[in-house]
């Protein structure tokens, strides 16, 4: 497709022209996939042509495809290990990304090193793409810190738990890129639930007004804990962009190739001064919201089974095999690598020390604060009183 300017944008994908507001009196489930869904690989792994987006993956090699497959498999393996570690009591909580590997790997691999990522708390696959050590993601879920990595090492911000807040940080960061005259871009991840937050609407407004180079990547995984998407919106989410004056597109979130292509397109728009883009990756949260959640209370097994047939990893595997891009050795090596990753993560978590007690008072302020100093001293004296008592025995 040709890159459209914001002003000239035709509501081709953001097809909000059929006014839903005037006719319906009750909200209806947002329309599913076709014909708006950008898909390059069918669930059976067949490559389908797309006149607009093919060019964004035109140069992709078998090695690239194997790389995407490897990323997804290792991310899923890591995720499964983290879930198991929660069940074993090593983590307090885990938010699984199961089912969303294609959306995260496809978008994550579209990024350049100098781009900046603002994740929610479920972007383990994107973190993987950025080079964040997976074990660093587990500190907050184990309860030893609130985020154990330097955001500027990999241009991957800390996980944000209050949903939607980070879309404004992403927008501000993108405004800064513009002021610096750089051609980097920002990607902000959020979900269907967060799309209802005022901060997301405000980030759309600010990014549009300032033409900020930001890609809003919404993983619509159909469920915000127990609330289905129709409790958040009565139009398909990608159509929201139209009202703010920038394009929105819905992509098959279980198709890693399509996610890669669409995100590359959106990033190219950002880099070339065309401002924000909304990408809605239509996917499914295969597991619970977190390990504390019980999805059997609110959704039917049949729904999950229907999505299993669209599994992102099986889809790419089918494509790789039918194109003879892989052999048994590749899968065996990857299997061994997966198990090694699982083992490494398991051992790292078990070896993760509890923080020093005085960490409570660390980094509360950059320039210090008299009250924090005073309370640290009181805490130290209190702790020391036990040592004195023991020493006196």
């Amino acid at each position: 497709m040709t890159v459209e300017s914001t002003a000239a944008h035709k509501p081709r994908r953001s097809a909000g022209t059929k006014s839903t507001a005037g006719r319906r009196t009750t909200a209806k489930k947002p329309t599913g996939a076709e014909p708006d869904l950008v898909q390059l690989l069918t669930p059976e792994g067949a490559r389908v042509k797309n006149a607009e987006f093919d060019k964004y993956v035109a140069g992709i090699t078998p090695e690239d495809l194997r790389g995407l497959y490897r990323d997804m498999v290792l991310t899923r393996r890591f995720d499964a290990e983290a879930t198991a570690l929660q069940r074993q009591g090593e983590l307090g909580l885990w938010a699984s990304l199961l089912g969303q590997e294609a959306a995260q790997i496809g978008s994550g691999r579209a990024l350049r090193d100098d781009d900046y990522v603002f994740p929610t708390y479920r972007e383990h696959g994107v973190a993987w793409c950025r080079g964040v050590d997976p074990t660093n993601l587990l500190g907050m879920f184990r309860g030893v810190n609130h985020g154990g990595w330097d955001p500027n090492t990999n241009n991957f911000h800390l996980y944000t738990i209050v949903i939607g807040s980070q879309t404004l940080h992403a927008t501000g960061y993108a405004m800064g890129i513009t002021k610096d005259g750089a051609d980097s871009a920002v990607i902000a991840y959020f979900g269907d639930g967060a799309s209802s937050q005022g901060d997301v609407a405000e980030s759309f407004t600010f990014s549009a007004v300032y033409n900020a180079p930001v890609v809003f990547f919404c993983q619509n995984n159909q469920w915000a804990i127990s609330e289905p998407t129709e409790k958040q919106t009565r139009v398909p989410l990608y159509q929201r962009a139209q009202g703010f004056g920038f394009p929105g597109v819905r992509v098959d979130g279980n198709d890693v190739l399509a996610c890669l292509a669409v995100t590359r397109w959106a990033l190219e728009r950002a880099r070339s001064g065309e401002g924000p883009t909304l990408v809605e990756a239509y996917t499914y949260r295969m597991g619970a919201h977190t390990t504390s959640d019980d999805p059997t209370k609110y959704r039917a097994d049949e729904e999950r089974e229907a999505w299993e047939a669209k599994d992102p990893i099986l889809r790419l595997r089918a494509h790789l095999e039918s194109a003879h891009h892989t052999d048994e050795g590749f899968f065996a090596e990857l299997e061994a690598e997966s198990e090694a990753l699982g083992r490494r993560v398991r051992e790292a978590v078990r070896a993760m020390p509890d923080p020093d007690h005085f960490a409570i008072f660390e980094n509360v302020y950059a320039d210090g604060h008299a009250l924090v100093d005073e309370e640290r001293a009181q805490f130290a004296a209190y702790q020391a009183s036990f040592a004195d008592a023991e020493g006196g025995k």
Binding site: G147, V162, L168, H169, T171, G172, A366, D367, H369, L371
Partner: protein, 326 residues
Amino acid sequence: MAAEKTALAKAINESLRHALETDPKVLVMGEDVGKLGGVFRVTDGLQKDFGESRVIDTPLAESGIVGTAIGLALRGYRPVVEIQFDGFVFPAYDQIVTQLAKMHARSLGKVKLPVVVRIPYGGGIGAVEHHSESPESLFAHVSGLKVVSPSDASDAYWMMQQAIQSDDPVIFFEPKRRYWDKAEVNTEAIPGPLHKARVVREGTDLTLAAYGPMVKLCREAADAAAEEGKSLEVVDLRSVSPLDFDTVQTSVEKTRRLVVVHEAPVFFGSGAEIAARITERCFYHLEAPVLRVGGYHAPYPPARLEEEYLPGLDRVLDAVDRALAY
């Protein structure tokens, strides 16, 4: 030449101008801060001289203003954002409390957010609802934030410089009813650290502690009390978080009595914290309980009732009399 006097609003304007001139990373953001120069003209002329990229008229969305300021700070900028009025800050409260205040700690010190949030606050100007509030305690209660309030033009100039230079987020409460009060501003000499209280009038019988708009009232109360032969010391706290308890303690150890004055409601206000800590520090010096004068546990009233709601000269002197009667 004879020192020229500058209005408090103009002093902040000059302080912002100086920061914009000396540090290319400083930005000014907010509603109507550009062409209009802000509803109180605090940013008057800045956009004309520094351009729309550095003095930024924002959409009317306070959460968006603070949220994008956080993002700009992450990119290396030092945004000074204006919240147009005290009562308008609450759409941004989540971003301030949940994000701005905590990001340094949750990044284990890797991220610094040098953001200044300017809030014209307090009553006494006959304004409509939501334009006269004093929410400083709601911010002082949050670790990770620093909260300051100048009482005169000189402090306004210098404390703004220091707030902008701080690597921590600073909530900068501007006493809007004192915007037009003039004082000498020496732009050559820093008067002292940002978070240090200052004895602005010495006395021996009782200490009045206040900040922002109430410092002037306390000085007037000390003048009135002097006519009755009572010697009041006045401490300008200047900073609510951190709060310089040492200076208050030194004063109270001398005067043995303390009255805290603020416009904010007394209940759970900064006066309560000061009373608790000074009681603990000065228990054997105190001749009277620490008393507080402030707003009531009621919504800020319509303008024609605000003189009854706000601490005035008589209410301060009444509290002084009660403290001296112990």
